[in-house]
């Protein structure tokens, strides 16, 4: 985790991109894993969850940032939680209004967005100290990072587990799905495999860097 900015920050591309990669809440910080694993047995669910989370993230960051000068220290966490819970309740009803099927597929995990520490973490570590603009951009970045992670899992799991993406047949009709991928163990395995891949690439890069330095000196 890079040092948290204490001074108010200028909005740069980095404010957004940080959440997408360098501080990716799922792959790097390993936060909010429960929804990531629970709802990614299909791409559709992953997208819906990503959007819902991003919305709550952005909305609560905005409000927290707006109110940052009037919230006393002692009650700030309580306040944040109430704010977050409010937006989650809103999302919950909106999704029910949009599609009951989707709502049933996501189960309790919409409401559990409240417990997702990415959101509380952003509120506490960033939005409470930054201007609204920067907070929104940062929250969008984090939301995007979270959504990308959900998609990384959702597509792999749906593709292998059902042979489809977003319900469209990708492989030949005779493809034998790997059911385990949409079962709970599959969630762990796929996330584990992504982390392995990232670690492998990182180590390879470091080795190359070392090698090239060695060659120079």
């Amino acid at each position: 985790m890079s040092a948290l900015p204490n001074r108010e920050e200028k909005i740069t591309l980095d404010t957004f991109l940080r959440g997408l990669w360098e501080e990716n809440p799922v792959f790097v910080m390993l936060l909010g894993l429960c929804p990531v694993l629970a709802v990614t047995n299909s791409t559709m669910n992953a997208i819906a969850m990503g959007l819902a989370t991003t919305f709550v993230l952005v909305a609560s960051s905005t409000l927290v940032s707006l109110l940052r000068r009037v919230i006393p220290k002692q009650v700030r966490i309580a306040t944040y939680i109430i704010i977050i819970a409010t937006f989650v309740t809103i999302v919950d009803y909106v999704i029910q209004a949009i599609s009951l099927d989707l709502y049933n597929a996501l189960g309790a995990f919409i409401q559990l967005i409240v417990a997702n520490c990415v959101i509380l973490g952003r509120a506490e570590a960033y939005a409470s100290k930054q201007r609204v603009g920067a907070s929104v951009v940062n929250a969008l970045g984090m939301g995007a990072g979270f959504t990308v992670a959900l998609l990384c899992l959702g597509t792999v799991r749906e593709l292998l587990g059902a042979g489809t993406i977003l319900g469209f047949q990708i492989f030949s009709a005779n493809f034998e799905p790997w059911v385990v991928m949409i079962l709970p163990p599959g969630g762990f395995f796929v996330l584990g495999a992504w982390l392995l891949l990232f670690e492998y690439l990182k180590q390879r890069k470091e080795r190359k860097l070392l090698d090239s330095e060695g060659a120079i000196s």
Binding site: P35, T89, A108, A115, V180, L196
Partner: protein, 196 residues
């Protein structure tokens, strides 16, 4: 076995639909506090305890909200009431059993708002459990959480001594271990259902 019996609810929450390994609830503490058996045990106890408290409070709030017909405030109330209830109990414990407090203390504030606790409250509401069923559910969920945590901690301590390849050290390995545990727990599927 009757799906509404207390035993079945307990077993189901502990083994078949284990909170961590099958429902994906409480993963952050599961991955974060499972490096050592001792902390895992204390964390498990703390969680079980908080689950019990929140199950009781959720039952009470839900009853009240239903009476007042303001269910739409459920989520906000749950999270606020559970957090304060835990804080209250924490203060009581601190006063009457400092030893217990030392064991559980550091974990309590961390767990209060995590998704296993909230999930427990929400599930018992959705499934319309009565008071006793809610208790059995929370105890089962807590026991299952502790079991998963202890298993994980045991395995991780064992692997501390292994020559694990550099790539799989760390979070990736923990996830793979969780996957293997989850795979093993699939054997409990359908336990207690009558199939004759």
């Amino acid at each position: 076995m009757d799906p509404n019996s207390l035993t079945f609810i307990f077993l189901n929450a502990a083994l078949i639909n284990n909170f961590v390994l099958a429902l994906f609830l409480g993963l952050c503490p599961f991955l974060g506090v499972s490096a050592k058996r001792e902390t895992a045990w204390n964390m498990g106890l703390a969680t079980m305890f908080v689950m019990l408290v929140s199950s009781v409070s959720a039952y009470a709030i839900n009853w009240m909200l239903t009476e007042l017909e303001i269910e739409f405030l459920r989520l906000i109330c749950y999270i606020a009431v559970i957090a304060s209830a835990v804080q209250l109990v924490e203060m009581t414990v601190k006063k009457f059993s400092p030893a217990l407090f030392r064991a559980l203390g550091i974990f309590l504030p961390l767990i209060t708002t995590n998704c296993a606790i909230l999930g427990l409250a929400l599930f018992q509401t959705f499934r319309e459990y009565d008071f006793l069923q809610s208790l059995a559910f929370s105890l089962g969920a807590g026991a299952g959480f502790t079991l998963a945590l202890m298993l994980m901690a045991g395995l991780r301590e064992k692997l501390e001594l292994a020559r694990v390849p550099s790539v799989s050290r760390g979070a990736a390995m923990s996830l793979m271990l969780a996957g293997l545990l989850s795979l093993a727990f699939m054997g409990f599927a359908g336990l207690g259902g009558s199939h004759a």
